[in-house]
Symmetry: C2
Subunit: 325 residues, 2 copies
């Protein structure tokens, strides 16, 4: 049986599964493991990744030499072709790290295929989740931040330097009629983590939502809105309006068959995420693409990074270029 490893590298934890792919379905997971992500630099992070992989393979009662390839989901920006992470802002010292090469060396030469977390999620949903069979879809995650990945004609939209898909930073909040001159488009808008203003994420990302309300978790804002708090209701309405505009833009601009919506906020607050997107598409998008587009929840949940990484590794090991180039 061909064994693959799927790895999800995050700022606080790393998780790995050893799994056998099953055509058109979720891979069969045979073993899993996790570690805290070291804060002491890339050498320790890579050692911990190798250790986590070995644990997952052990739990699967298999040997490392059974592993065909490792897929790795990591926060961007990174280069999926060279396997180099440009910078991972939440992992101290993780700048210009040749992750694929160094991890492969630590694993006795097993190939390691790296890709951005949202791209891996889109591959997972496309091959074994909500977008099975769709050639044109957009994956959107609404969580701490808002991100995504775009698939067109069965191929990942990569862009010139592999950063395409950052749709959470599409500006949707020009002040328009009230702004003017030098201030048109910026006055009164909340700042976004990316340094700009007016991005979808500045309104709909969990971290920004919580910060604007002065609490630790976005869930508290939704709870306060449910109990009638006026400011929380206003913030939730703005988050909904931002996601609604994003949905209309995606439908008019990209004409997807599906918009697959994942991430923690989508999962816990679908009526504040998926419903406003559907309503806006019905009411505001062009008729032909609106009729072609469905907004659906992601199917792979919190394991999407590992499951997607298993599938990405299988695709790239088999030379199927449509996802990687």
């Amino acid at each position: 049986m061909t064994l693959f490893v799927g790895l999800d590298l995050g700022g606080t934890h790393m998780r790995a599964v050893a799994a056998e792919p099953v055509e058109g379905q979720r891979p069969r997971i045979l073993g899993d493991a996790s570690r805290a992500t070291p804060r002491s630099g890339p050498t320790d992070v890579i050692a911990a990744l190798a250790d986590t992989i070995r644990s997952a393979v052990d739990k699967a009662e298999r040997a490392l030499h059974d592993v065909v390839a490792v897929g790795c989901s990591a926060p961007g920006p990174l280069d999926p072709r060279t396997g180099k992470v440009h910078v991972a802002p939440n992992i101290p010292g993780f700048t210009d790290v040749a992750l694929s090469e160094r991890l492969s060396t630590a694993l006795e030469g097993i190939p390691v295929f790296l890709d951005r977390d949202t791209v891996i999620a889109a591959i997972g949903e496309g091959l074994a989740g909500a977008a099975r069979g769709a050639r044109d879809f957009v994956y959107v995650t609404v969580s701490t931040g808002v991100g995504g990945a775009i698939v067109s004609g069965g191929r990942m939209v990569r862009g010139a330097t592999n950063t395409a898909g950052e749709i959470g930073h599409w500006p949707i909040a020009l002040m328009g009629p009230r702004g003017s001159g030098a201030t048109a488009g910026i006055e009164g808008l909340p700042p976004c983590g990316c340094g700009a203003v007016g991005c979808v994420e500045s309104f709909a990302g969990g971290r920004n939502l919580a910060t604007r309300f002065g609490v630790a978790e976005a869930s508290e804002v939704f709870r306060a809105a449910d109990t009638g708090d006026a400011r929380a209701k206003e913030l939730v309405a703005q988050a909904e309006a931002a996601l609604a505009s994003l949905a209309v833009g995606l439908v008019n601009g990209l004409n997807p068959a599906l918009i697959v919506v994942g991430g923690g906020i989508s999962e816990h607050e679908p009526e504040h995420v998926l419903e406003p997107m559907r309503k806006a598409i019905r009411e505001r998008a062009f008729k032909v693409p609106a009729a072609a587009a469905r907004v659906v929840p992601a199917e792979l949940g919190a394991d999407v990074g590992m499951i997607g990484a298993v599938l990405a590794a299988r695709e790239r090991a088999s030379g199927r270029g449509e996802w990687s180039q």
Copy 2:
């Protein structure tokens, strides 16, 4: 010498050229012709198109049987694979017309390849204009309306039903902090021709700009702004801010190597179109994609429809699928 015909079907006029393609350059135009577009229904329009083509071929001192294929640029929505126009709002009675098939019949069986005007323009700029050699670029037209086409990895982004690229109708004007509840995102915004509000085109399209200022032509708004009219200056600032947000969104979302900007307003008012886009990318987009993206003027001018149609016909006649599927 292989001869192709490029046809540009518009609401008021139709124009045709008979030309020989020259690899990597503009085709060599041997003859051209134009007619007013009949207002009396599709049968008359198709007869006039065939007549215009015959005139262009005559002027080239060639015969119809020398023509390998005809490329036709038309306003969407349409289906480039079947050659059917769903609806051309500016041509009376032009609904569900099998344009390729009927025109081919009128031309003794010469194949006719149909595509949307902005897609044809992107093919023209990509093969013989400002985007020669670029595999990832966006074509944007700022004219009466705002439209575009997206090329990713050397392929046209088509979408599920061939309407992708309508980036002029990406909403960029959520009212954000001041709107709330049911009205969040809509209050106080000017209407767009598409029936929605907040689209790039509602601020930056020439027709909307002129209508909002109460004049016939957008050029009058720019002239009034130049002479210090406060309302005109405000409208121009809003148009610039809308295009700036579009540029940031395109760079963050699609990571193009080039944004090629065409259309009459871009050509006549580059400091109000290209410059604000460049400035916004520098100041507000993510660093990696911002460093990769250049905003450049289109090179093919008002002939882009015909030139692009010649090149599209050559590509499709030779079976090169990257532009058509």
